[in-house]
């Protein structure tokens, strides 16, 4: 388990990360979400001791640098193009392999895993963003670390690459590892992550399972249509449930289908339609981070005209 405790970072007057604590469980993919400028990258760098600030991060109960081979504990991808542009992809990985005490044969393996074997002898300076991301992933998994910390690894990947990455990350976590991954691709995150850490303006907003966040959204509701809308409304009011009228039925917030089914039965109503309507991760995210955006567009395209 990774346990980040009271991470804080200040740049002169601006607080970039404000006393954030959270946990990342093994065997799970934990998504890291937040608007631009929320402090995600800084938090990741603080966790790894790359930025100096306060707080600490424990990896299986020890600080990262208490391990004799930190690279075997954590693999990182914090910037897509973190390589010397003229050092070949293979040499880039050999340099990292030497630093981590990893045999050179592993370099060929990871190049094969990420699909870069054919360009291994080329300088990555002219790699596309997607190829650079693949090289970054190869570097992250070089020492078969228990934990992966990945900052926006899907940026620039083509659809095939994104699908590959999604499956790779899920498989990696399933092998008893943990993956901590930030991304703005919420639809991808919703398919990939088991848990979420959400921050806004440097503060922790949520650290829970994906399902809890979606269920907790006001956009999640139970849609119900019965033979008598009026009687159902009365029953819902008695049960202190909030609802809105929708498509000849009612959307009830904060309730389960079972509960609504029983209510309707007790009120002597025939249920014609009863379905769960889950919020999307995007709806839940926007709701959670509302008002914490550092940079916000003010004008729509229509207004611009």
């Amino acid at each position: 388990m990774i346990k980040a405790e009271h991470l804080s970072k200040r740049y002169r007057k601006k607080v970039a990360v404000d006393d954030i604590s959270f946990e990342i469980q093994t065997g799970r993919v934990t998504g890291f979400l937040g608007p631009n400028g929320a402090g995600k990258s800084t938090t990741m760098r603080l966790m790894l001791g790359l930025d100096t600030g306060s707080g600490q991060t424990m990896f299986d109960g020890k600080r990262l640098y208490d391990y004799s081979r930190p690279a075997s504990m954590v693999g990182i991808l914090l910037e897509a193009k973190a390589f010397h542009p003229t050092r070949t992809a293979e040499n880039h990985l050999r340099v990292l392999a030497a630093a981590g005490g990893v045999p050179d044969s592993r370099v060929d393996e990871v190049l094969d895993i990420v699909g870069l074997t054919e360009v291994a002898g080329k300088g990555p300076g002219k790699f596309s963003l997607g190829m650079a991301q693949r090289l970054g992933i190869a570097a992250a998994i070089l020492d078969k670390p228990k934990y992966l910390i990945l900052d926006e690894p899907a940026n620039g990947l083509d659809p095939e690459g994104i699908a590959w990455l999604r499956q790779f990350i899920k498989d990696y976590a399933d092998q008893g590892n943990a993956v901590f991954i930030s991304s703005h691709l919420l639809s991808e995150m919703s398919q990939m992550a088991d848990d979420l850490v959400v921050i806004g303006r440097g503060k922790l907003i949520a650290n829970t399972s994906m399902q809890s966040i979606i269920d907790g959204s006001t956009h999640s509701s139970v849609f119900v249509r019965t033979t008598s809308q009026g009687k159902l409304q009365t029953a819902l009011k008695k049960a202190n449930l909030t609802f809105t009228e929708q498509d000849a039925g009612l959307a009830v917030q904060g309730a389960k289908t079972d509960q609504i089914g029983h209510l309707a039965f007790d009120a002597g109503l025939t249920v014609l339609e009863l379905t769960n309507k889950s919020a999307s991760l995007e709806e839940a995210f926007l709701e959670l981070t509302s008002g914490t955006e550092e940079y916000q567009a003010r004008t729509t395209a229509k207004e611009e005209k």
Binding site: R45, G49, P70, E79, H84, V95, A99
Partner: protein, 251 residues
């Protein structure tokens, strides 16, 4: 530590700039040693110390190039953000710095030895090509060894120190060129006799053996010059080490 060293050697030897900079320097030295010093100008200097004096000149020339390579070795880490891999692999910033120092030292020693041999050979063949026959050569081995190796090492360290402090390759290279060529001569006009204690002015007699500074005042002896520059370097390293431990690993 061994893993860091292996990685740093690979870094140094797997980038074009290392070979380009040193090749350019050796080409320059080879030309001057062969044509200017050996073939054209130095007929009157064809004494028994002809090559010995030449070696000091060639090592003096290579110093700045060594500094550029060691500066790039560290500067590239920040420019291309590979410093994050370096730090998370090593587990200790002090170890990271020590590894860079060892690799830069080995690099400086190897380049100084190659330069001395190459320059001397080119100079000798230049003289032979011009039809001269230098008398049997004498070498002040002890003087050559400590002064040339220390001079090369000082330059390797100054490149590395500036890279850790500034992190910007342009700023590093500008400083490397401006301080000895412009800043110190200007300060020398102000400091007069005390100018010999300025870092690069103190370093100069280590390799040139000159008894006077550029402004005509008495220079330090090679040993005193080396000690003076060494003190500057030690203070700079202490500051650099503290800064390296405390700063964010970003450009």
């Amino acid at each position: 530590m061994l893993a860091s060293l292996k990685s740093d050697f690979r870094k140094l030897l797997s980038v074009r700039s290392t070979y380009l900079v040193i090749s350019l320097a050796l080409a320059l030295i080879g030309f001057i040693a062969f044509y200017v010093s050996g073939y054209r100008d130095n007929v009157q200097y064809l004494d028994k110390f002809f090559l010995d004096h030449g070696i000091f000149t060639w090592v003096n020339t290579i110093g700045m190039f060594i500094a550029i390579v060691t500066a790039l070795q560290m500067g590239h880490e920040y420019r291309y953000s590979t410093i994050m891999y370096t730090l998370t692999s090593s587990g200790s910033r002090t170890r990271t710095l020590l590894s860079k120092i060892v690799v830069s030292t080995v690099f400086a020693v190897v380049v100084v030895v190659i330069t001395a041999l190459f320059g001397a050979i080119m100079q000798y063949f230049g003289a032979l090509t011009a039809g001269h026959h230098p008398e049997p050569q004498h070498f002040q081995v002890v003087q050559l060894l400590w002064r040339c190796l220390l001079f090369g090492w000082f330059y390797a360290m100054i490149g590395l120190v500036l890279a850790v402090l500034f992190r910007q390759i342009v700023a590093i290279i500008v400083t490397l060129f401006l301080v000895p060529s412009t800043v110190e001569p200007l300060l020398s006009m102000l400091l007069k006799d005390n100018a010999k204690y300025l870092p690069f002015t103190a370093l100069d007699p280590v390799i040139t053996g000159s008894s006077s500074t550029a402004t005509g005042h008495a220079a330090l002896s090679p040993a005193a010059g080396a000690l003076t520059f060494g003190i500057y370097l030690a203070v700079l390293w202490l500051a650099t080490w503290i800064v390296f431990l405390k700063r964010d690993a970003t450009n």
